[in-house]
Symmetry: C2
Subunit: 624 residues, 2 copies
């Protein structure tokens, strides 16, 4: 039974302890409690408070900031803490269905405490558990209960030493042997060893292993997931034929045991195949509801969107923590002043404000985006679970894939740069381990890499947009998507004719202004990228080369600008809803405008160049 | 007696071991040995080889990459290694005078091995030792010998808990007591504790302590340096009245013991005052060759330039290491390809090239700048040592101060961003501790903060330039400086009239083109900053507010652009010397152009905006 928080608002949102921040807090133009209630809602605040109170009161979660913990000790502690989280049972399955946002909220709370704990829990439940649930069938339901009781502990083994991004080149094999009705899982060589697998290093008993499926006398049916026991749950000793070990120290997240594994002709029962997208009959015939290998592959990796959305929300947590630390420090640290006698808080310096406040705004905008994208994902998964095979469901999957593929890069990079800026903005004190900025930076860093390298992922998003434009040019199709994130593109010729007409700085303080500029920018980048790509192809480049030659200067900024626009759009709509309390409208509007203008300003050179190509003001663009 | 390397060129520059990099190496358009000889010179290569060979053959320096070393063990090892470096006696005092570049070369070699070691050695010799030497007098020479024999071990205690950047607000006091002919060193409270002092945490026996000097019945004479024994060299126990301790774990450089100290009425002999800029007679009268407190203060902190120049060169080392690791990895790691069968090295992707190659060019350009600035510093110090009080010497000091104050920020930020890019460009493998990119990032990070926060320092450089322009506007003075870095500004009105006339991309591949654009940019920024500053003052802002309000949008880019221009200028001249071997001209020219264009491109928005303000092409600038 999960603990709960009793009492009214005072218990839920107690006053801050008195201290040097009082002076700034007293100057706020709004009530922070009202903002917290608007941002999270009372039910969510209560849920988070329950989790934090439990951790605060449990000695196993005692913090020792800046402690010099050995790798082994840290991993042991992290495992025990993960186990304890299951025992607390903060979130029932019914609760998950009723309030799906509590799932990322739980992960975020764990991430606030320690990224390694969030990752360990997430990998076992949402990555390993979800893979078993969504790729398996009835016969695998027995695993689900064992997962939630931590009777077994899992990991997700896709990446190999020599192949991460290029999943199609993965080389572990699974040959079916009809004589014994078993699959033989095998790693041909060390370069095909499963690598970087979180939880595999010390603690996982089971792995979802991706391997190329072969049946006798038939061609390869491509990558399929198998559930493979890799360790004895009692002794944690490796199973016969499995060579499994720990990757050693990493730049961060050292509470998480990343590992490698090689399989030497390991035999597993036929039922180990997670058979939703393809199965093998006892006699050895391959059967699949999907005709096309590519389509099958797409479905089997579809689950990666959920990983990316989780990472996005963990990156936001890191950014939130860092910016809170840096702003609080800046409000109390005094250095220099108008006279030698009077020193002022460093937060008063325009330089410090310019360095930090945009990241505060980014934390709010990205936090809202991460929640809204998670709800979109829930919609997709519900359609998937109910067997929806409509065109809309497929389109929704593609749209979420495109949003998550650029959302993870945007959030992880914003957090990474923000944390570094916070570290530097806190001067020497920011370099002390106990002040946590280093841990945040190191723990956030892999968010830029895993579940898809940021730069590689951005190509998914630009390809999605280019595909839509090609479809329009070729077939006259409209830009339409279930979440409407691309619908504005339908008007791209007229948007490209628009000019920026705002004359005063004050008028720019509405995010609608930046939003209009962003729409123009995305239309412009999309058209330019499309033209550049076609030009590359006309001049004889292969598809592969043409895309690579366009990515740096065109595809990458297109994907980022599109995603920034989506984040700005969603936050703009959110803070301009009629239900926003009047007392919060000003501050939320400012946060929205600040994030939008700051993000847009990074494209300033592009905007100027585009304007220049149009010619002097008054002339029309000749290239459109 | 220092070890030396025997044998000819083959021993000095042996072939690389054969391996997967051979294919790329075979494609080089130049001989790497020739490039190494041109960049370093044979004597320097030999010197570095001597150091590396000694470390390679000494078990005390055995590496355990990615090891999980405890804080205490790491500090102990680092101290022992530092001691061993003194025993090796790589660099005699005569050698230092004959080949001053061997000083930073030694520090760089130690930095290549481990930043903590370089910092520990540097702080003891060049920071503590130089402070005693240059701020003291004959009576302190006895310390110098003990420093080089490591009979005493030193640290430099300026920063306090509450004051780092604002050194004028430092509050430790030194009251002279004529009765006992002693100074009483005292920390009024914990906020005035000396803080962050490298070597102080565990190992220093002596500190140069900066304190406000008071004599009886007289006003305060400002900050002066005192040499104070803080620990017993035999037991390392604190001296009476000294509370000294370790700061604990940091984000990086954990081999270095940063510490804090409070002094409770600690009595030191009158001779402890490092008395070059001011002294107290036995009776208690303050005497100084400098009339003005400000001037005295300037001289006493003049030594900080040398710290900044050292940091600059250590940042370059970190960048060099990171880019070498990332490029080698990129040349061997294969992922995706034109067909499913054929994968290509990730270095072949334009994206990877755009991410990494500019940092390779930056490493070369900044390395050259760091050496040339060190030689300028040597000139300054020789003038100082020979008692040169000419106007040129003073001007040289100011110019080097301006160059070092922007050079440290430029180099430390370039390295920090470059290392992060390298980390990400190596994907998951870059996140493994043994691959060293994390250590490099963490160890480089404080370079952005210590010896002056980067953003605070940049103000020194913009103030220097603004002062020169004010002098010209007010008094008609010419822009002239001993190192000629500002001389071009004399022609600023005509430079501002120039237009960018290059028509082809090929023509831009000469760094002279970017150089001309940079000159225009610096003139433009200087004029704009000057106008903005005056406008702020006219509208009633105090000097303090006016400068702060100009810094983000004007002063900061001015300082950075000026320094980038200086780096580009020096590297351009270096690679276009007649003595450059013909076979190296192409590659060096490309490095120079790449660094220049890449740096300049970050100011693209500013260039477009400036052009726009001039009006459409053909029209003249009305505001000039």
């Amino acid at each position: 039974m999960a603990p709960t928080v009793e009492g009214g608002d005072a218990a839920l949102l107690p006053e801050f302890p008195r201290g040097p921040l009082d002076a700034y807090r007293a100057r706020a133009s709004f009530s922070w409690k009202e903002l917290a209630l608007f941002t999270e809602g009372e039910d969510m605040l209560r849920f988070k408070k329950t989790i934090f109170s439990a951790l605060e009161n449990d000695p196993l979660f005692a913090r020792s900031p800046g402690a010099d913990l050995s790798l082994d000790k840290y991993r042991e502690l992290n495992f025990l803490r993960c186990k304890r989280i299951f025992e607390y049972d903060f979130l029932s399955v019914e609760d998950m269905f009723k309030s799906p946002l509590k799932v990322p909220a739980l992960i975020q709370c764990l991430g606030m405490y320690d990224s390694s704990l969030a990752a360990k829990y997430l990998l076992h439940t949402l990555v390993f558990g979800s893979a078993v649930y969504s790729s398996g069938s009835e016969r695998h339901l027995t695993y689900i209960q064992k997962i939630f009781s931590m009777e077994i502990f899992g990991c997700f083994a896709l990446t190999e030493l020599s192949h991460g991004s290029n999943t199609k080149a993965i080389r572990t094999t699974a040959h079916y042997d009809p004589a014994t009705k078993e699959f033989i899982i095998h790693s041909p060589d060390f370069e095909a060893a499963k690598f970087w697998v979180g939880n595999m290093g010390k603690t996982a008993t089971h792995a979802v292993v991706f391997a190329k499926l072969h049946v006798p006398g038939d061609q390869c049916h491509g990558l399929h997931p198998f559930i493979v026991q890799i360790r004895d749950p009692k002794t944690l000793l490796p199973m016969p034929g499995v060579m499994v070990g720990d990757m050693g120290k990493k730049l961060g997240q050292n509470g998480l045991d990343n590992g490698f594994a090689m399989f030497h002709k390991v035999r597993v029962p036929r039922q180990s195949l997670l058979n939703r997208m393809g199965d093998v009959t006892p006699e050895g015939t391959y059967v699949s509801p999907f005709k096309d290998v590519r389509q099958r592959f797409g479905v089997s990796l579809g689950g990666l969107s959920s990983g990316r959305v989780s990472i996005l929300s963990l990156a936001v947590v890191n950014l939130k923590l860092a910016i809170a630390i840096a702003l609080r420090f800046s409000a109390t640290r005094r250095q220099f002043g108008p006279t030698q006698e009077e020193e002022i808080a460093v937060l008063e310096y325009p330089m410090q404000q310019c360095r930090l406040l945009p990241y505060l705004a980014a934390a709010y905008a990205l936090d809202h985006f991460s929640k809204s994208l998670f709800l979109d994902l829930v919609e997709l998964q519900r359609g998937h679970a109910s067997g929806d095979r409509s065109a809309r469901q497929a389109e929704l999957g593609r749209e979420i894939h495109a949003l998550a593929s650029a959302g993870k890069p945007l959030a992880s990079w914003t957090a990474q740069q923000g944390i570094q800026e916070c570290r530097e903005a806190c001067g020497g004190h920011g370099y002390l381990a106990m002040n946590r900025l280093g841990v945040l930076r190191d723990d956030n860093d892999p968010n830029c890499t895993y579940e898809g390298d940021n730069n590689v992922l951005l190509q998914q998003t630009s390809n999605y947009l280019l595909g839509l434009l090609a479809h329009r040019v070729r077939d006259g199709a409209c830009f339409r998507s279930p979440l409407k994130s691309v619908d504005f593109l339908d008007a791209y010729p007229s948007i490209l004719d628009q000019k920026f007409e705002v004359s005063s700085v004050a008028d720019c303080l509405d995010s609608a202004v930046a939003l209009a500029a962003y729409k123009w920018l995305v239309c412009y980048l999309l058209r330019e990228t499309y033209q550049k790509l076609n030009q590359e192809k006309r001049s004889g480049s292969s598809d592969f080369d043409a895309r690579n030659n366009c990515q740096v200067s065109h595809g990458r900024p297109l994907a980022l600008a599109f995603l920034e626009l989506t984040v700005v759009q969603r936050f703009h709509e959110h803070v301009h809803q009629p239900c926003v309390p009047p007392s919060l409208r000003a501050v939320l509007g400012r946060l929205s405008a600040l994030y939008a203008l700051w993000s847009l300003s990074r494209h300033a050179a592009l905007l100027y160049r585009a304007e220049r190509r149009r010619g002097c003001p008054g002339r029309r663009d000749r290239s459109s």
